[in-house]
Symmetry: C2
Subunit: 214 residues, 2 copies
């Protein structure tokens, strides 16, 4: 079947650039629920992401059980306390003041794993770079994030976790690697600058800091 590809015009590209600019890591959520049909829609879109060898290694786990959510929240609390102990002086004071997760408020908890032993894709493209499976799951997170933001939903990526403990708390297969633990919900506020920049933790550089030629 022949399908005519869509034409994306300059106005769309400009709008897309606004989406990139206003996508934020959100840690302050309203408690209103998110329509489960919308969550499924976002996950279906995430499945359109690229994956190595078309392996589709993303495994999405909606964490609904209160005890499991509590275990993740406690995991974060302990891991974050350990992290704070690494800083001294003014930096420790700043770190302690940061809000680094919205686990208590977010109506949706989504854990994203990569199935490191999936037969899908028959190993193509991951022989010398097996980390491509995790990278494919990361691409799905970024797709979901953009689709969510376009609908006004906020997403926060929590990486201040002991991943082995999180996997145990969620009772997933041993071959699944935790890639992301996401909080999803309606944001309290909107910004076009990162919260860590506003909090004077880390400013953004310009392209010249990151571009090299060989």
């Amino acid at each position: 079947m022949t399908v005519t590809p869509p034409e994306f015009d300059d106005a769309f590209s400009a709008r897309l650039a606004e989406l990139f600019a206003w996508r934020r890591d959100v840690r302050r959520f309203r408690s209103d629920p998110v329509d489960p049909a919308l969550v499924k829609k976002l996950l279906a879109l995430a499945c359109l992401s690229p994956s190595v060898g078309n392996s589709q290694p993303w495994r999405f786990v909606l964490v609904e059980d209160a005890a499991r959510r509590t275990a993740i929240t406690e995991n974060f609390r302990r891991t974050n306390a350990d992290a704070l102990a690494d800083y001294d002086g003014a930096q420790a004071v700043n770190y302690a003041s940061l809000k680094l997760a919205g686990l208590a408020e977010a109506p949706v908890h989504l854990a994203v794993f990569a199935d490191t032993e999936t037969s899908r894709g028959h190993g193509l493209g991951r022989r010398t770079m097996p980390e491509m499976l995790a990278y494919s799951a990361v691409g799905a997170v970024q797709t979901l994030w953009l689709a969510a933001r376009a609908r006004g939903l906020g997403v926060g990526w929590v990486s201040i976790l002991d991943p082995a403990e999180a996997s145990a708390a969620l009772d997933v297969p041993a071959d699944w690697k935790l890639v992301a633990y996401l909080c999803i919900g309606w944001p309290v506020e909107e910004h076009d600058d990162p919260e860590l920049e506003r909090a004077h933790w880390q400013a953004r550089g310009g392209l010249t800091d990151f571009l090299f030629r060989r």
Copy 2:
């Protein structure tokens, strides 16, 4: 300064879904050049991606030197020959028939690294999951990919490489980890299904294959 966030309407979300559906891993490029200003525009957009602790660990290397490009192409050729040797029978015949990179044709070669020792971000969010730095670079690749496709540009991610040899050929700092080697150019054709699905290598599953609840 107060900035009013943009409103993204349903029409935009529908268009964005089309962008996700028509983003493809492209290995067949026309030889026409890509305007360097467009490449820089895409890289600047990629810098709007999320990064752990706002660490911005992405390091973009435009590979322009013919000898370095040849080294990467040879690296791919050897790595791909090794990979072929892992398959037998009909699968080996199918693998050998696949076009898995457009290195010879693509006008733009872009290597994307993660700086695993960057001081940016002051270690935040990567203490227990140091792989978050590489994941942040992956997010930037996905952002660039979507921005490129919106402008009709194709991107192909080559992971059939020996990453240590590639890093040596590009003479980058020892702490930079190769995350992606991208071919960028104007595609010969457009599809809304993955090339590996059309070639009967690996079909796509549905969301029910990938969604779990706990």
